[in-house]
Symmetry: C2
Subunit: 317 residues, 2 copies
């Protein structure tokens, strides 16, 4: 039996582990001290050290897993066959670099001023503010460099599309735009639709892009693409609702970051707007929407995407 | 007579003006408040305002002009014919966005802590530090978005190559790496070769990439490409040597930014290392190298590239 056809017991932890090993190895290889030929200096090594600290050995890697899951669901040739698989791995690492840079800049004193991330001192605490700023900037550039290898292993058409998707998700119409809304919303009480718009951009855009970039490395039918867009939107929003819930219900040690900081910063959240019970219901509703989209997608191998959506909603950290 | 064949009197100001009008219009059109359909909010408008403030109405636009000059020198069809001309215009704007974001972040309190840029308050002074950080981040993303239009006006092959060139020039092996070396060098006395390496990355990489991205929109022969690489390297280094000279010899009003800040910050410069006279000689030597490279390039229409190199070395601000 083809193992990709709905096995009765899909093992998400085992699936995740196999992919995370590849992603971690690739990130460690690509976030490196390579400098142009003929250049002899040591300071970029200090920059790369800050970049590596920001990226390696930490985080749930939800975005890379979404890329790989969407890729597997939409591709028609054997799963690990190059070059599509190479493109997906590059896309998986690129979205993680964008996520990592956003955390580095978000934690800086002029933004959230946070000292703890993934259970470790934040980058600016460890390396200084200037290095944190530069490391974030360099991580964003590296994301686009990863998507555009000189070798022909990823076709130019696919390289260009992946860059387009990532740039849009990261920029003023995506993640950076959402952070700007967040910044402007402190101390105000937004409507639910305003809160949703903020999160659609701030975290939703990159999560959805992860799904769509994975699909861009496969061969999805238009109906499947539309379904994945719906899945990505629902799952991205669910992620944020659950984040807001955990900020209230979990402690810092479990989260690996400072708990309760939204309330401390007087930031509007789903919990402050809807209350805890309705927020929890809303997260489950979004999960149902995401799973329903997968059912209607016509795709066969959606177990990983299903499992990741459930994990997002039912996580405790 | 074909006007592109060495006219006796090439009018650089008129040539620059014609291109700058197109670049300014394009930047104003592309750095905008477009938000995803169905999203209803106003805060990204505040972000875009900071982005526009950082980019529009200011600067010499040297990098866009280098893109256009290299494009004109290397292309074989009439100058303003699409799609190559469209690609060059997008590349010109993209390099300027990267340059603009680097200035925004460079001016922040944790870096150079500068309050004056292009004769105006710096972005963080005008909009606050958090907005400056986000505006810089969003400008970088927008640069890659500009290079990857969904329409087929720029072939995918060219989109991917331009992204690759820009990402490398901006990242840890380019501009961000050079800034990290700069950061680490404060209060130290580097050798001349260390200083050169720093500047090769910090300002040289993006200036050289501007030339090479312009050429990537044309059809250069390999010998021409190699010559342009040499031209870009010499001109990029000359730019920095002259910058160091002007920091000592010009006043803030002429520069439109704070003069004398390198000495104030105890930063190593060509002037502190070589003295004023030898620095001036070195700049002329680099200009000669750049012009020699153009002569050996086999390219016919290099007047704009010649004029820009002379302008870089002989400028007074």
């Amino acid at each position: 039996m083809d193992p990709r056809v709905s096995p009765p017991s899909f093992d998400l932890p085992a699936w995740s582990h196999a992919h995370l090993v590849r992603v971690e190895q690739a990130l460690s290889k690509w976030v490196t001290t390579e400098t142009p030929a003929g250049v002899d200096h040591s300071a970029p090594a200090a920059l790369v050290a800050a970049m590596r600290y920001a990226v390696l050995d930490g985080g749930k890697r939800l975005r890379p897993l979404l890329v790989m899951a969407a890729f597997e669901a939409t591709q028609t040739s054997p799963v690990f066959e190059a070059p599509a698989s190479v493109a997906a791995l590059r896309a998986a690492c690129a979205v993680e670099l964008i996520h990592a840079y956003s955390l580095v800049h978000d934690d800086m004193p002029c933004m959230d001023n946070d000292v703890l991330r993934r259970g470790k001192p934040t980058v600016h605490v460890q390396f200084g503010e200037a290095s944190a700023l530069l490391a974030g900037d360099a991580l964003q550039a590296l994301a686009f460099e990863l998507l555009t290898p000189e070798s022909p292993e990823v076709p130019a058409e696919r390289q260009a599309r992946l860059c387009r998707q990532l740039a849009r998700a990261a920029g003023s119409g995506g993640m950076a735009g959402g952070q700007a809304i967040d910044l402007a919303s402190v101390g105000r009480t937004p409507t639910e639709s305003q809160l949703r718009d903020m999160h659609r951009l701030k975290t939703g855009a990159l999560l959805q892009a992860s799904v769509m970039m994975g699909a861009a490395c496969g061969d999805p039918a238009p109906v499947a693409l539309a379904a994945l867009q719906t899945y990505g939107a629902a799952m991205g929003l669910a992620f944020q609702v659950v984040d807001d819930i955990l900020d209230v219900t979990a402690d810092s040690a479990t989260l690996g970051k400072t708990a309760g900081k939204d309330a401390d910063h007087d930031k509007p959240t789903y919990v402050s707007l809807l209350g805890l019970a309705r927020s929890t219901d809303y997260a489950q509703e979004l999960l149902a929407q995401a799973l329903q989209a997968l059912e209607s997608s016509g795709l066969r191998s959606t177990q990983a995407l299903q499992g990741l959506a459930k994990m997002v909603v039912n996580r405790s950290s």
